[in-house]
């Protein structure tokens, strides 16, 4: 039994102060066994509002004629608290009163729950769920000890949050609804996610699929997808880390973004996989700007046909998606099952980076300084390029070879010694290399910037070898073999060197020339090796519409768990119509609203298919 036990308080007449929008007819009772929604209203009781023209005697007679009894007369004029007759249901009674010309409206006697907060130790940092005006700290950043990237409005305005604690009094368990995170994968071994991953059975033992590497292991090697997953459904009330919108969830990991992003192909496969394996909510915190992608749009339409809600991020360029020149897909797709989300800061101002659009972006949600799960620990290993490099040159003694130098105030490795005021030697083979300890890392990338002025027939190379030897002596891997004329501009370049992980990863550079023309040579600066060590205990504080989108996807999942009969259209309607107006979103989104979890949970969609008969 996953449902947390919460004290229940029945509050007569609470409808006067709580923004439930029910005006006629009860919500259909949920059928899910796991949902706490079975305690939605008191069995055998209804609240009836008689029209002002109806006398007390007449209303009492009406109630008695149905075999009902008055339990209490509420303080609000015309309202009666009624006990229905034996053998009659609340539904039948409400229908009867709704058809009575003396009755203005009738509703169930709803049960209100005490607002619930989980015991997760970092819950106090989750301003999106409970904004008390707290300052979000930099205690959880990646790499560790790096500063927060969005200091604006930190702290923010108390109360500017998703209004979720009251909703948690009704439901915390969304595990009856599969939600797919179509992203960089998920660290499904994380201490705060493992118990909430989708059960993919023997075919998908790692809770999803990897369309980048085309295997069934969607482990996250970036962090983004794990962060998104934690916002939706980090295990709540487990005394670890954070909590998600849903305390219990069924999260499907679909990896479509690799180190260099994803493509139409991976994303389409990801959406189709999610749909065909039962996901009813899909989150895609990704995008590409510019051109309409028909096949991606077709995949969203197929999801719509399968009654799946798709929640997507608006984008992080601080621009208008509707301008005509800068659409962002999938945000700008127009299917009705798609909700596009902008990011709000801690004072519910539109975040400076958030894209917007009065026709394409639907709602806002918290998207700055969001603490959530992360796939591991990032580390940056810079090198000062002024010691420890071993060099060799076939033309040493004539000024050839690699040297430490300061170029324009930047410490660099250069070849030739006079760079950039001379030229490298003809017929030379100049090498320089250094070993780094990358033991224990899961991923490693090499980053440096280089100004390369090397002519045809000559070569500038970067390479590595996983032992402490010259990478260009035959056993190494060449990462880059280039020529060009870029001085004074340096180009920043990143290479995956994960195959080099070990205690003696040796990185090297080579300048090799023939006997003919030569040029200025090469200047290398800004050297670092970045590593990611996957573990099960990391957290990170991030900013982006990528973080706002899963707040909404979590809400959609919760709505589907609470109202199992809801269609995707009902879910979208409850999210968009029940939101809270926010001035910063007015004219910049289709609704001008931020999501409100409790209001959406209580929002009852207008019934369809009814025919009014005038008699």
């Amino acid at each position: 039994m996953k449902t947390r036990s919460i004290a229940v308080a029945t509050i007569l007449g609470a409808f006067m102060t709580t923004p439930l929008r029910v005006v006629a007819g009860p919500p259909a009772p949920p059928t899910t066994a796991n949902s706490s929604a079975s305690t939605q209203y008191v069995p055998g009781e209804v609240l009836v509002k008689f029209k002002p023209t109806t006398t007390v005697q007449s209303s009492q007679a009406t109630i008695a004629s149905r075999g009902h009894t008055v339990l209490a007369r509420l303080s609000q004029p015309g309202w009666e608290h009624v006990k229905v007759g034996a053998g009659q249901t609340v539904d039948e009674s409400l229908a009867a009163y709704s058809n009575d010309p003396s009755v203005e409206y009738a509703q169930p006697n709803y049960i209100y729950h005490i607002a619930a907060a989980p015991n997760d130790p970092q819950y106090g940092q989750l301003w999106a769920f409970k904004n008390s005006g707290q300052t979000i700290s930099s205690a959880f950043t990646q790499p560790p000890s790096s500063p927060l990237q969005y200091p604006t409005n930190n702290p923010g305005a108390p109360g500017d949050d998703m209004d979720i604690e009251r909703a948690w009094g009704h439901i915390t368990d969304c595990s009856s609804v599969v939600v797919a995170v179509v992203d960089t994968g998920i660290n499904y071994n994380h201490e705060d996610l493992g118990d909430n991953m989708w059960d993919g059975g023997p075919a998908y033992p790692h809770h999803g699929y990897d369309f980048v590497d085309n295997d069934n292991d969607p482990m996250d090697l970036g962090g983004h997808g794990t962060h998104v997953a934690g916002i939706i459904g980090a295990v709540g009330n487990n005394a670890k880390g954070t909590t998600g919108v849903c305390w219990q969830a069924s999260i499907m990991a679909v990896r479509v973004l690799g180190t260099n992003g994803g493509t139409s192909t991976t994303v389409i496969h990801g959406v189709n996989f999610a749909v065909s394996n039962g996901a009813k909510v899909i989150n895609m915190s990704l995008g590409g700007g510019g051109a309409f992608d028909q096949l991606y749009s077709d995949a969203i339409t197929a999801a719509q046909d399968a009654d799946v809600v798709v929640v997507v991020a608006a984008g992080n360029y601080g621009s208008n998606n509707d301008s005509g020149t800068t659409p962002m897909y999938p945000c700008n797709f127009s299917q009705p099952n798609l909700v596009c989300v902008a990011a709000l800061d801690q004072s519910y101002a539109l975040a400076s980076f958030s894209d917007w659009g009065s026709a394409s972006v639907d709602v806002g949600a918290p998207g700055t300084n969001i603490l959530s799960t992360w796939t591991g620990t990032k580390a940056v290993m810079p090198d000062t390029l002024n010691s420890g490099w071993l060099g060799s040159s076939t033309t040493a003694g004539t000024g050839g070879g690699w040297f430490y130098s300061t170029i324009g105030g930047t410490q660099s490795l250069v070849d030739a010694a006079s760079y950039p005021n001379g030229s490298y030697n003809n017929s030379t083979d100049d090498r320089v290399y250094k070993s780094f300890n990358l033991a224990g890392a899961t991923l490693a990338s090499l980053q440096f910037s280089a100004a390369v002025n090397v002519v045809n027939g000559d070569h500038f190379r970067a390479g590595y070898v996983s032992t402490a030897v010259d990478p260009f002596a035959g056993t190494g891997t060449i990462l880059w073999d280039t020529k060009g004329a870029t001085y004074p501009n340096r180009t920043s370049t990143t290479f995956d060197v994960s195959d080099c992980i070990g205690a003696n990863c040796t990185i090297g550079f080579q300048l090799q020339s023939d006997a003919s023309l030569n040029d200025l040579g090469v200047g290398i600066a800004d050297f670092s090796i970045n590593t990611l060590t996957v573990n099960s205990t990391s957290y990170n504080t991030e900013n982006g519409t990528s973080m706002a989108s899963p707040e909404v996807a979590g809400l959609a999942t919760m709505l589907r768990a609470y109202h199992p009969q809801y269609t995707s259209a009902d879910v979208v309607s409850a999210i968009e119509n029940a939101g809270r107006p926010v001035s910063g979103l007015a004219g910049k989104t289709t609704t001008g609203k931020a999501i409100d979890v409790m209001a959406s949970l209580a929002y009852i969609n207008a019934p369809t298919g009814l025919v009014a008969v005038v008699q």
């Binding site: 960089t184 139409s264 991020a313």
Partner: protein
Amino acid sequence: MAMEKPRPPQDGVPGEYLVTLAAQVDAKVISDVYGRFGIKRIQGLNLSYANVFRVVFAEDPGLARMEELRIQDARIEAVQPNFVYRAN
């Protein structure tokens, strides 16, 4: 005031296109029409709602040339880049 930053162009993977064929049309037509550009790989996407193939070329013919050839053969319904998407 939002701080707008320039967006990167909507790139496609160089030399890769998604070709939609009419229903029941065999992938061989792709080689017939586009083989002149040196096809490295044809991969069916196996979509239930469309007959789509990912085509990887040795040399990128460019979308304009791909489109030019498409409109001459009714068996090919559409051609588009294999667009790049990134986390945001």
